[in-house]
């Protein structure tokens, strides 16, 4: 028997390691180590919200599974969140709950979609949520662990695990890692949360599910029409189209956003420009075996198929460093678009 005096630092660290291994043995992790969670830790997280511990914040109706505030807190702690991140995690769940794909079977989809969580407002600075260089990760605790907290609930609370109820064929690089701040300080436009209706300066979270990100490197032009045409080419890629449905968004680098704004483009002008020009001909669709076979519907005309459901469905977020003219085309999952809403972050 070892008395407390004789417990060395090495012993304590060995115990910590064994606790992490215990979590692996129980199947609680996403493959990376998790933080062992104790009752007092959970209480610290719960103290960050006015909501009741047993309130249900997310559900998968067809699996009869629900997640309470407390279960979300346990898994946020497990993910490595600090307690003060928890209100952002709760807002992210509320934002995801407005996504049609999440309410259905999105977490189980063969596309293995990744939640994209976008944070606006001063809380980005308070919690050190990265919105500039390396914004899509890794390297920043808040970004990495807030996104991971979502994934651990899907795994541990909903019981949706890969190769079981999660039927992801390949999955999406960055799944459970995509939480970004918008670079409001260097964006020429209103923040996303303001665009979709919240008062300026509100701490808020928007979210959707993504099927991938694809880079557009254009350090070549100073003309907005040429830059937009470069985006249009990626947006209109046939491989990303599940005809007749297709969607896209832009995580714009600062330089690209400033170039467009400098030529008088508001966000809605960018959306309209791309909506009008992102069209794929019937001939092109036939060539890749995705012909519409005479089907009619929204976005289909004699020439071809529009690759965006509507101008405003083109999500635009400005994020990253102002050090190179590159952006990401992102691919929202699902056939019905994203909710175009932002959820305020509530703190007691």
């Amino acid at each position: 028997v070892t008395t407390p005096d004789e417990v060395t630092d090495q012993d304590r660290l060995a115990y910590a390691r064994a606790a992490i291994e215990h979590a692996y043995d129980r199947g609680w992790t996403d493959g990376l180590p998790v933080v062992p969670v104790t009752r007092p830790m959970v209480e610290e997280f719960l103290a960050q919200t006015a909501r009741s511990a047993d309130e249900v914040i997310a559900a998968v109706p067809h699996l009869d599974r629900e997640c309470t505030v407390e279960q979300a807190a346990v898994n946020a702690a497990l993910a490595g969140c600090r307690p003060e991140y928890f209100p952002v995690v709760l807002a992210a769940w509320e934002a995801l709950g407005r996504e049609r794909a999440v309410l259905g079977g999105g977490w189980q989809s063969t596309s293995g979609p990744a939640p994209l969580i976008v944070v606006n407002g001063p809380i980005r600075h308070e919690l050190n949520i990265n919105s500039t260089g390396g914004v899509l990760g890794p390297g920043f605790r808040a970004n990495a662990t807030i996104a991971r907290a979502i994934g651990l609930v899907v795994r541990n609370v909903f019981g949706i695990r890969p190769q079981e109820l999660d039927q992801s064929t390949q999955g999406v690089p960055g799944r459970w890692l995509l939480c970004i701040g918008e670079n409001e300080e260097e964006s020429p436009w209103e923040p996303l949360a303001t665009e979709v209706g919240l008062p300026a300066g509100t701490d808020a979270v928007s979210a959707t599910l993504l099927r991938t990100c694809e880079f557009v490197d254009n350090r070549h032009t100073q003309r907005p029409d040429e830059l937009l045409a470069d985006f249009a080419d990626s947006i209109s890629r046939t491989g990303a189209a599940i005809v007749p449905f297709s969607s896209a968004g832009l995580v714009l680098g600062v330089e690209h956003a400033q170039l467009l704004a400098g030529h008088g483009f508001a966000k809605r002008d960018v959306q309209q420009w791309l909506y009008e020009r992102c069209v794929r001909s019937h001939e092109d669709l036939d060539r890749v075996g995705k012909g519409l076979d005479g089907r009619t519907g929204p976005g289909i005309d004699g020439y071809g198929l529009r690759m965006l459901p509507s101008p405003e469905q083109l999500l635009i977020v400005v994020a990253g460093a102002r050090n190179a003219a590159m952006s990401m085309v992102v691919r929202p999952f699902g056939f019905t678009g994203w909710s175009r809403t932002a959820v305020p972050v509530y703190r007691p």
């Binding site: 064994a18 606790a19 215990h22 979590a23 129980r26 609680w28 062992p36 969670v37 104790t38 009752r39 830790m41 959970v42 047993d54 109706p61 067809h62 699996l63 009869d64 599974r65 629900e66 997640c67 309470t68 407390e70 279960q71 346990v74 898994n75 497990l78 794909a101 309410l103 259905g104 079977g105 999105g106 977490w107 189980q108 989809s109 063969t110 651990l152 541990n156 609370v157 019981g159 190769q163 079981e164 109820l165 999660d166 039927q167 992801s168």
Partner: protein, 181 residues
């Protein structure tokens, strides 16, 4: 050891649902057949072929075709009520994606709970998720019909062949004596 570590899978838990399977008819003569299709490519065509075969070879009566617009959601309550009111048996399909295969099993169990025998068709690539769904819903041995994966890219003749090949299993699933609770 580790007794103070909180289990992140613990919670209020799922509502317990006792597995209930509908009583089976001895054969399908005169049965009104519901065909609950999702919007996956070839699902309607496949179920139409199954329906035609059940009429021609097993004496089934009318066909009631219903389409579930969402591949992932449970069958809407009005569609479920309609099928229960107008059908003696229902064929559900085709589960050939991660979410729709689980959803199809859920729909089958919902029909069973409402007293209507169901045959759920999934492609064999999704057996694991279909089994996991059946387990999660309290019916680990729920019998469903597997057809080779994939179905979506097949032409009309190939779809007909798949329906023909699965027919004995569909009939066995829907008739008495072989349903497993």
């Amino acid at each position: 050891l580790f007794s103070a570590m909180i289990d992140p899978t613990e919670g209020p838990g799922t509502r317990a649902r006792p597995p209930v399977l509908a009583p089976r008819p001895p054969d399908l003569r005169g049965c009104r057949v519901g065909l609950l299709a999702n919007v996956k490519r070839n699902a309607e065509r496949y179920l139409d072929e199954v329906g035609a075969l059940l009429r021609r070879e097993h004496g089934a009566a009318d066909l009631v075709r219903r389409t579930k617009r969402s591949i992932t959601d449970p069958v809407p309550p009005d569609v479920l009520a309609d099928l229960v009111a107008t059908c003696d048996i229902v064929v559900v399909g085709v589960g050939d994606c991660g979410s729709c295969s689980a959803s199809a099993i859920g729909d089958g169990l919902a029909l069973e709970a409402a007293g209507v025998p169901a045959a759920v068709v999934c492609t064999d690539a999704f057996a694991v998720t279909a089994d996991a769904m059946a387990r999660l819903r309290g019916s680990p041995d729920y019998r469903y019909v597997r057809t080779p994966h994939p179905l979506a890219p097949l032409g009309p003749d190939e779809v007909r062949e798949r329906a023909l090949a699965a027919l004995p299993e569909i009939v066995a699933t829907l008739t008495s004596g072989r349903a497993v609770a």
